[in-house]
């Protein structure tokens, strides 16, 4: 076997309170396409940040050998000097600059401090030809689609004489046609001797182009598998085999026992969404949520599983007052009556609440106190002496005090600034806000993201209590064990479509993962 182009040995990276990577190994042979697989939070991106110098040498333990030499990168420029270039999921292009300017951004063709535009354009044209892009190098990047922008990123990488190209979810934002083109290009680059590391959730794509795959789970290397012996041979590895590696962990979370709702209307349809279709807010060509229909009954907790970019949050936010994207089609019914959810107030009036996955950006007023954050969604109901438009602050405060006790929000008073609370307590404040708005349907988007195990259990208890009161709960999560532990039914989504519906009895991580990675190709 030839000498590997890249060897990462014993990489351990710790963030305050979290061990993101623990003794990770990765070996990439020259000229191969090496895939990295793992669930969200398995440590893939962190590993790539260590490799590309985003996490500087010294902030992690372990050794990186590139082309046989031990290397220590202090920033991205240092790794790029060696020919390691990373293309992030979020493209790093400046929209109002031209393709050529973007390609040479930070690497300007300026021999004496002045930019040589002829040389810049000539070289840019040559690079564009290599990636198969026929647009003029003077076109502003904002005027070309996401697929082409991805190609510009690769051209930019090629301009730096790349030896190892790292692509983080390169096709997540692309349609099928653009994805296919991009994968072709990666294969061509391999033929030119450029090795690639590709991070992807799409197992069919990995099977199509990768030579080997390394599986990470909980910050550890699980195994490295060979996908194909020679570049042209058929893959010998099944998707199921990869999935088993990705999810094969013991259930280490604990869940409360589910309480059954025994009201008269138990089992009645509380939420029913039909034919919901939404386009991307900027790129109207792209359908982000495609003809989704689902139901949730009273007293039921229904999960939505899906990998990043599957369209779960987009679905939830567009149902909740069309807060995301461009609405195309679909209806929402609450308790069997069709309701308008055109605006957030309409959705709230219809009895729907949405607890966001990003509480700091979309859920809380961090500079205000617990008291006022909890009351924000139900202020009109806290009338002072029955006068509409006035708030009874004593009533408001007693409500806040009640939730501080019942939700176990750890704060000295309800006048504590929300920005000072821990993630788990912030989440309890957001939940309190929406529970007090007294909705029939609660959409919880990643309600346990970024909070510690103890607080997670408390959140699960709250969710169970809501269902036991006859509320309908739609539970979006990337953590399969918590969906399996909490839900009566689980829908799976991939690429904006529902790809499966699994009952609690049938659900296993393998089954869910198979549905979640089911892409057309």
């Amino acid at each position: 076997m030839t000498r590997p182009v890249l060897e990462m040995r014993g990489i351990t990276k710790t963030f305050p309170g979290v061990k993101a990577l623990s003794d990770v190994h990765l070996t990439v042979r020259p000229g191969e396409i090496h895939a990295i697989c793992g669930e969200n939070g398995a440590g893939k991106s962190t590993l790539m940040k260590v490799l590309s110098g985003v996490h500087e040498h010294g902030s992690y333990e372990g050794e990186i050998r590139f082309e046989g030499e031990s290397v220590a990168f202090k920033d991205i420029r240092a790794s790029e000097k060696h020919g390691i270039v990373i293309i992030h999921q979020e493209l790093a292009l400046v929209p109002y600059l031209s393709i050529a300017e973007n390609i040479f951004l930070g690497n300007e063709q300026a021999p004496r401090g002045l930019i040589d535009w002829n040389d810049t354009l000539r070289r840019a044209s040559a690079l564009l030809k290599r990636v198969g892009l026929r647009d003029k190098p003077s076109t502003p990047v904002a005027d070309i689609g996401v697929g082409k922008q991805q190609l510009v990123e690769i051209a930019k990488a090629l301009s730096k004489e790349v030896k190892l190209l790292i692509l983080d979810e390169p096709t997540a934002a692309l349609n099928d046609e653009d994805s296919a083109k991009l994968l072709e290009l990666i294969l061509e680059l391999r033929a030119q001797g450029i090795a690639s590391i590709i991070i992807s959730h799409k197992l069919n794509e990995i099977r199509r182009i990768a030579d080997s795959v390394t599986i990470l789970r909980d910050g550890q290397t699980i195994e490295t598998l060979t996908v194909r012996e020679t570049p042209d041979s058929e893959p010998q590895l099944s998707e199921d085999r990869i999935i088993r590696g990705m999810v094969g962990r013991d259930l280490d979370h604990r869940f409360p026992d589910r309480t059954v709702y025994e009201g008269e209307d138990a089992g009645a349809l509380a939420l029913s969404v039909k034919g919901w279709t939404v386009r991307h807010p900027v790129d109207h060509q792209r359908t982000v949520v495609d003809d989704v229909s689902l139901t949730v009954r009273r007293g039921e907790i229904v999960g939505i599983a899906g990998l990043m970019g599957a369209g779960r949050t987009e679905l939830a936010m567009s149902v909740f007052g069309r807060s995301y994207g461009q609405y195309v089609a679909g209806t929402v019914a609450v308790d069997g009556r069709e309701v308008s959810t055109k605006t957030v107030p309409a959705a709230v009036d219809a009895g729907i609440a949405y607890v966001t996955e990003d509480r700091k950006q979309y859920g809380l007023n961090l500079i205000d106190n617990i008291n006022r954050n909890i009351s924000l969604a139900s202020l009109p109901g806290m009338r002072r002496r029955g006068i509409a438009g006035l708030v009874d602050e004593h009533h408001e405060r007693s409500v806040a005090e009640r939730y501080r006790a019942s939700m176990n929000i750890k704060a000295p008073t309800v006048f504590e600034q929300v920005g000072r609370l821990s993630g788990g307590n912030q989440q309890k404040v957001v939940l309190s806000k929406w529970i007090h708005a007294d909705p029939e349907v609660l959409i919880l988007d990643e309600p346990t993201r970024g909070i510690d195990v103890g607080a997670k259990y408390e959140i699960y208890t709250v969710i169970d209590r809501l269902a036991a009161q006859g509320k309908a709960v739609l539970f979006i999560s990337s953590e399969l064990p918590e969906l399996l532990g909490m839900c009566d039914r689980i829908y799976t989504m991939a690429a904006g479509r529902l790809t499966g519906e699994v009952t609690r009895a049938e659900a296993t991580q393998e089954v869910l993962m198979r549905h979640m990675t089911a892409h057309r190709s």
Binding site: I367, L379, E393
Partner: protein, 409 residues
């Protein structure tokens, strides 16, 4: 006015202080650090100039003068504070003051319109101007900085057009009274101004009643209340302040009309910002617009109304200023927007929005007003006055930034 809101700063006044009293005070102070800090600074400035001017500053005649001199800036500052809390800015208010003053002059001087009608129409013009700007900011989505910068040019230009570059005067006496008048004397001669004494007594009664009711409601809802000793101390301090202020005014001509207008605004808008749904929505929008929208706040309507409110207040300030000058002039209201913005920031507003109180804007405005008045009394030139006011603004906000950083760690 300067001392009516003095909080019970002195913990030793509360003899029955419980274990938590100190902590409670610190919490209260910390939550409103800028405002309490500014109140202390205001008291300090007042004492400083009181000594420096050999007691002229707090002479009854000068206190009256101080109120009438600063009335229009305080009115603007109240509106500006709300705009800034919502995360916006309004640069057009100075020009709008001039424009409305000019329009009122045209109506009353050229067309002999009754002053009450002219006043109502002037406020309406302000509302329309505010709606015009609010429309572009809220519904079209142009940043408020740009829209009101345009408004600044636009209204200044319109002022010159309607006045044809000339000043118009004089106004009817009734109109002039808005800025220069006092409430009329009634009853027997008592050496004091009788209605002012009555108003003062009523204010004390009202404040004490409000405190008592607030406390009763808190107890009814089973919430923590301020310890009794501290509460009594607060009531005593408040009463003393109002009595002192009342006697000062009553020994001159009594309560200026402007003061009545200002107190009306302070009470109403303070109440709206604290206790009305729309007021809360303003804070929520300024604090986190995305989260507020996702909580059902009608962001566009709220933004629109904020600017309508600012327009009406600018019009009111315009009338008061014109009445004080007894003329509509093309150069009226120059740099008023900057004074109002400075008052808001001194009084506790934040560049990023979401914090501040109407009371804070008044305190900030008074700091500037007392500085202006005091420095003029001791014959500091306007050149040095500007330098000092600039430094005060910088120091006030700098102190706040420093304090927040310290608390945050």
């Amino acid at each position: 006015m300067t001392t009516t809101t003095t909080p019970p700063k002195d913990a030793s006044e509360a003899p029955s202080a419980q274990r938590s009293t100190g902590a409670l005070l610190i919490d209260m102070m910390r939550a409103n650090m800028r405002q309490y800090g500014m109140l202390v600074a205001l008291a300090f400035i007042v004492i400083l100039f009181q000594i420096w001017t050999d007691g002229t500053l707090l002479l009854p005649s000068n206190v009256s003068n101080l109120i009438q001199q600063n009335g229009y800036i305080l009115i603007l500052a109240i509106g500006m504070m709300i705009v800034i809390i919502a995360g916006h800015i309004d640069l057009s208010v100075g020009s709008l003051v001039a424009f409305v003053g000019a329009m009122s002059a045209v109506m009353m001087v050229k067309h002999d319109m009754p002053w009450v009608l002219a006043l109502v129409l002037s406020l309406l013009i302000g509302a329309v101007a505010g709606a015009w700007q609010g429309f572009f900011i809220a519904y079209v989505g142009i940043p408020s900085f740009i829209v009101t910068l345009a408004g600044m040019l636009l209204f200044r230009g319109l002022t010159q057009i309607v006045l044809e570059g000339q000043s118009l005067s004089p106004f009817p006496d009734g109109f002039q009274n808005i800025a220069k008048g006092f409430i009329p004397e009634m009853g027997p001669y008592t050496q004091y101004h009788n209605p002012t004494l009555v108003i003062g007594a009523a204010t004390v009664a009202f404040l004490l009643f409000r405190e008592w009711r607030h406390r009763k409601q808190q107890l009814a809802y089973d919430l923590d209340v301020t310890p009794t000793g501290l509460w009594v101390a607060k009531c005593v301090a408040m009463t003393a302040a109002v009595v002192a202020f009342t006697l000062t005014l009553a020994s001159f001509h009594g309560v200026p009309v402007v003061l009545l207008i200002m107190c009306g605004l302070l009470i109403t808008l303070g109440y709206v910002m604290r206790n009305a749904v729309i007021g809360r929505h303003v804070y929520a929008l300024g604090g986190n617009k995305a989260a507020a929208k996702l909580s059902g706040v009608k962001d566009k309507r709220v933004t629109f109304l904020i600017f309508v409110n600012m327009g009406v207040l600018a019009a009111l300030a315009g009338c008061v200023y014109a009445a004080r000058l007894n003329a509509g002039t093309p150069q009226a209201g120059l740099n008023f927007e900057l004074e109002a913005i400075a008052a808001s920031f001194i009084g506790g507003a934040s560049m990023s929005g979401g914090v501040g109180t109407v009371m804070g804007a008044v305190i900030g405005g008074l700091v500037l007003g007392v500085l202006n008045n005091g420095m003029s009394l001791v014959n500091i030139g306007t050149d040095y006055q500007q330098v000092i006011k600039g430094l005060v603004l910088l120091a006030a906000v700098g102190f706040d930034v420093w304090n927040k950083r310290k608390v945050g760690r």
